[in-house]
Each structure stands twice: as C-alpha cells, then as structure tokens.
C-alpha cells in the first residue's frame, strides 16, 4: 500500500489535475478519484456511461480491475480518463 500521485487528464477538462491514488486501487477506483475532481466541477456528467483509464500516448485502456501497482504507472505519470 503506497500513495501514488498521478497527473489526470479528464476528457473535457481544461487542466491536468493532481490525483493521489493508492497502489492497490483498481482502474475503476482511479477513474472515480479523477472524476471527483472533474465531473460536476469542470466537466458535465454522463450518467450511465462507464469511465475508462489509459496511459497517455496509448490507444488501449487498462482493464478495469488492473491495479495501479500492476499497471506500472510511476508517480506523476499522466493518465487519460474518458467516458466509454
């Protein structure tokens, strides 16, 4: 268990935000943590749609149950979060 700060690029937002997550968090947890700082604050909600996470520069999202520790993400690396 360790806190990993990530840089979150939430689709529709205008600024990268610092989002601390736990190394044992799944990508669904990560998406929720990022959404808490963007959805309803700077980005409109899209009820009923699923949030996905991918590493900046990649085309494929992580599996939703992948943990931060397993993803290989390093502190302050940038992730992209978007409604699927």
């Amino acid at each position: 268990m360790a806190t990993i700060p990530l840089a979150a690029n939430f689709d529709g937002d205008f600024v990268l935000k610092l989002v601390p997550v736990d190394s044992e968090n799944t990508m669904d947890d990560v998406a929720a943590a990022a959404a808490a700082n963007s959805v309803g604050i700077h980005v409109a909600d899209q009820p009923g749609r699923t949030l996905r996470v991918k590493k900046q520069g990649t085309d494929t999202p992580y599996a939703r149950d992948t943990t931060v520790a397993d993803s290989g993400l390093e502190p302050t690396e940038c992730i992209e979060i978007y409604f699927e």
């Binding site: 840089a7 205008f14 600024v15 610092l18 808490a36 700082n37």
Partner: protein, 498 residues
C-alpha cells in the same frame, strides 16, 4: 560661463574606457559575467548606443516625468477611482502592482550589472541611466498602490508578493531570475532588453495604458505612459549588441537566446495581459482582444525587428500562433477556479454578452472553454458553491510554473521528461525544449506541486496551501470581483425557461 554643446564633449565623456595594467582583460571582464566570448576585443569600442543623453538632460527629463505622473495622481485623488471604477479594473491594478512593482528593483540590479560587466563602454554608460529608470519604476509603482492599502488590504501584495510563495510569485521569480539575474551580460541583454522589453513590455504598458484611459483611470494611464517612455528608451540597448554578435559569426547563439526568452516572456504575459484584456477590462472599454493585440504588436512589429537583424522567426512559430488563441483562456479558467490562491479578485468575464464577444473574437470558444464555464455556471446558479473550487491542485509546469492547460478534448496533454531520476512536467513542447537545452540550469527548482508532494506544505490540503502562499496573512484571498452578480442573468434565464 557658457555651457558647451553636448556634441562637443559627448564622445569623450561617454567613453570611460581604460587599459588595465594590474589585472588582465579576462579578469576585468570574466566570461561568465560579461559574455560575448569569441568577439574580438576591439569590437566593443564600436558599440554605438542608439540614443544619446547626458546626466543633466536625463535628470531634467525624468523630473518632468515624475512631476507629471504624481501631479495627475494628486489632482485625481478626489475622483475616487477605487470606489467609482468597475471592481474588475481594481483587480487589474492589484494584479499589476503585485507582479511588477518589486520586480523593477530586480531590473535595476540587472542594469547595474550591465554598467559593471559590459565590455562596451558606450553601453556601460547608458546602463547607468537604465538602472535609474528601473529604480524610479519601483518607487512610483509602490507609492501609487500605497494609497489604496487603507481601503483594501489586497494592495499589500504590491510590496509583499515577491517575498511570498504565492504560485504567481513563484512563476514570476523563476522567469525574472532566469531572464534578468543569472545570465552573462550579453545574454541578459538579449533576453531582457530585446525580447522582454522590446517585445513584451509594450504589451503590458501600451495596452494597459489604453485600457486604463478607457476605464476612466487616468492616474494609472499616466503612470504607465511615464514608465513606458523609459522602457522604450533603454530597451534599445540590446539591438546594437545583437548586431555585433551577428556580424561576428554568432547568429545561432543569439537566435537561440531570443527563441528562449521570447517564449518565456509570452507565456508570462498570458497571465499579466491576456487574462485582463479578454476577461477583466469592462466590455464597453475593450477595443481589441489579446489575440488582436498580439498580432499587431508582437507578430507584426517584433517580427519585423527580427527580420531587420537577419534573424528568423522562432522555430515554434506555428505552436505560438495557435497558442495566442487558447492558452490564456485555460489560464483564466484556472485562476478563476482556484481564485482563493490569488491576491486579487478575478472577474469571471463570462456574462452572456461577454460570451458573445469571446465567441466573435475566438470562434469555437463556446464549444470548448465555454463548456467548462457551463458546468461552473450551473453550480453557481444552483448554489453548489462547494463545487466551484477544485479540491486538488493543478499540475504545474516545471519551467513556466503555470498550470498545464489546453483546449478541452483537443490540446490538453502532459509533456514530460525524466532527467536524472526525476520526472519533470511541461506546459508545452517549447517549455520542454528550453529545459532540455540546459537541464542543469533548471533541474533543482521545485514548483508548487513538487513542494506539496515533498512535504513542504502542511497541512497538505487547500488550507495549508493558502497559508503557505501567504493568503490570509499578507492580504485576503481572492474572490469574485463582482460578488457573483453576473450569475443573476443566468439565474433569470433558468427561471424564464421554467
């Protein structure tokens, strides 16, 4: 006894040159301080300053300028601009004085370094006047806001901002330390005189002077004009130096330093000029958008000067031309969202009429930045104030020290590099290029997020961040300039729609 004409004695008096006997030329002008390596020693004497003035003439002119500015201030005190101007205009004054006043003393040190370390005797002479210019600018821009302190404690930041850890101050100090304080004399002249003063103080001073007059603040307008006349004069010091470098085979070195300093100056002015021009200046007083001003004063005029010297547009010209339509919109959203971190009260500038103006000047604004404002406005209208300030920090550029922003769903992205085990983040490819050109110069600096993650800020929450920045102790935190009165029109729209 009749005074001699200046022309009869000037060339003797300006050339305070001598041949050192007790130290070598290298010891008198060390390369790390004087710069200009590779230029023949005899070329420095050929430097011909673009304006000529004696100390007697200088003092007389400056006395008249001071008398003009201070007398206008005294005469218009009864106009009570503080209570009669649009509150957003007062915010511009607070932002300006806090960001600029003390920096002028740094500029005085920069000119003093020219007076000591420059190898060209003519420039050394003129730099003494430049130093006196900057001291006057520091004094007058501390004196004018001082009268407002008793009315509004946010004006305390005029004197305090550069001693604080406010994020805007961190950005300004990083910029000015890089451009004015820590390069050799020749490089500093290119960065400070040519790029910053010739290129950009026009933007802050001429643009703001016109906006001040349009907004009825003739005191500030006069003050800014008074300063600009000095800037326009001593900014010319760098041009003959550039010519000397280019003529002696150092064009590429000059080009690179201008490319670096032009970008850094531009990005700083997106905060100092871009936001006020497009969001704070009352709509009826706006004549041009920030983009239009940039196109007229920077794209056209500054580029003409580069071409006259045989220099090229910076390599990132396409990036820059796109950036002037977008970056400051992101910074406005950021500064307004994190308004408690400001020493001034930001105006939102997004009433329905102002949005029409933004859409006209920046086609597509409503479908991009406007959509973010839609969410914020919905929160204001429905009383969800807790959702109007983010609960986390923005990622911050390790060069510009500004939040990393972009056009929503289009250009927002992280640009990072790992250097000696540490990941650095940048707000653009240009910022990254500047860092990678000389990473040892920049690698040790910690931006606000680095400090937050490194445990320098306790408690590690918004309250701790505000305290770290001096908000609440130096002066109150920022809040909406108009007390959210602009939200009423949206509330009415909602009510009318049923």
């Amino acid at each position: 006894m009749a005074l001699m004409e200046r022309s009869e004695w000037y060339d003797v008096a300006r050339d305070t040159e001598w041949t050192p006997r007790y130290v070598t030329w290298e010891e008198l002008f060390p390369p790390e301080l004087s710069g200009g390596e590779g230029l023949p020693d005899d070329v420095w004497r050929t430097y011909d300053e673009p304006y000529k003035i004696s100390y007697r003439e200088y003092v007389d002119v400056q006395r008249q300028k001071d008398a003009g500015a201070y007398s206008v201030q005294a005469a218009l005190e009864r106009a009570d601009i503080y209570n009669n101007a649009d509150p957003a205009w007062i915010s511009i004054l607070k932002e300006h004085y806090g960001a600029v006043a003390l920096v002028e003393y740094g500029a005085a040190l920069q000119e003093a370094r020219f007076a000591r370390w420059c190898k060209a005797p003519g420039l050394r002479n003129m730099a003494v006047f430049g130093m006196l210019d900057e001291m006057r600018h520091g004094q007058i821009q501390l004196y004018f806001p001082h009268e407002y302190v008793k009315k509004d404690r946010q004006f305390e930041w005029s004197h305090a901002s550069m001693f604080s850890n406010n994020w805007v101050s961190l950005g300004a100090r990083h910029f000015f330390d890089d451009m004015l304080m820590t390069r050799d004399m020749v490089s500093t002249s290119f960065c400070a005189n040519f790029s910053f003063e010739t290129g950009f103080t026009n933007l802050q001073f001429i643009g703001l002077s016109g906006d001040a007059a349009n907004s009825g603040d003739y005191t500030f307008s006069k003050l800014i004009q008074s300063i600009q006349t000095d800037e326009a004069r001593h900014a010319q010091l760098g041009t003959p130096l550039l010519q000397m470098m280019i003529e002696n085979g150092q064009r590429d070195k000059a080009q690179k330093e201008i490319d670096i300093s032009f970008w850094r100056s531009y990005r700083l002015f997106t905060i100092l000029s871009g936001i006020p021009m497009d969001y704070y200046v009352p709509l009826e007083a706006r004549h041009t958008s920030f983009k239009e001003f940039m196109e007229e004063w920077i794209v056209t005029q500054f580029m003409r000067e580069l071409e006259d010297l045989g220099l090229s547009k910076p390599w990132y010209w396409d990036i820059f031309m796109r950036d002037i339509s977008e970056h400051h919109h992101g910074q406005q959203l950021g500064t307004y969202s994190w308004r408690p971190t400001l020493w001034w009260n930001p105006a939102a500038g997004v009433s329905p009429e102002e949005r029409d103006w933004l859409e006209e000047k920046y086609p597509g604004w409503n479908d991009t930045f406007g959509k973010v404002w839609d969410v914020m406005i919905d929160n204001f209208v429905n009383g969800r104030t807790e959702k109007t300030v983010p609960g986390t920090l923005p990622m911050i550029c390790n060069l510009s020290q500004l939040p990393i922003v972009g056009t929503p769903s289009q250009t927002l992205r992280d640009t990072s590099v790992v250097y000696k085990g540490r990941r650095y983040h940048f707000a653009s490819e240009v910022d990254k290029w500047i860092f990678e050109d000389n990473p040892e110069r920049y690698r040790y600096q910690k931006n606000l997020v680095d400090r937050f993650l490194g445990g320098d800020i306790e408690p590690a929450d918004l309250g701790g961040v505000l305290e770290y920045m001096g908000l609440g102790s130096i002066g109150p935190s920022g809040d909406d300039a108009h007390g959210y009165s602009w939200v009423e029109s949206y509330r009415k729209q909602l009510a009318d729609a049923g």
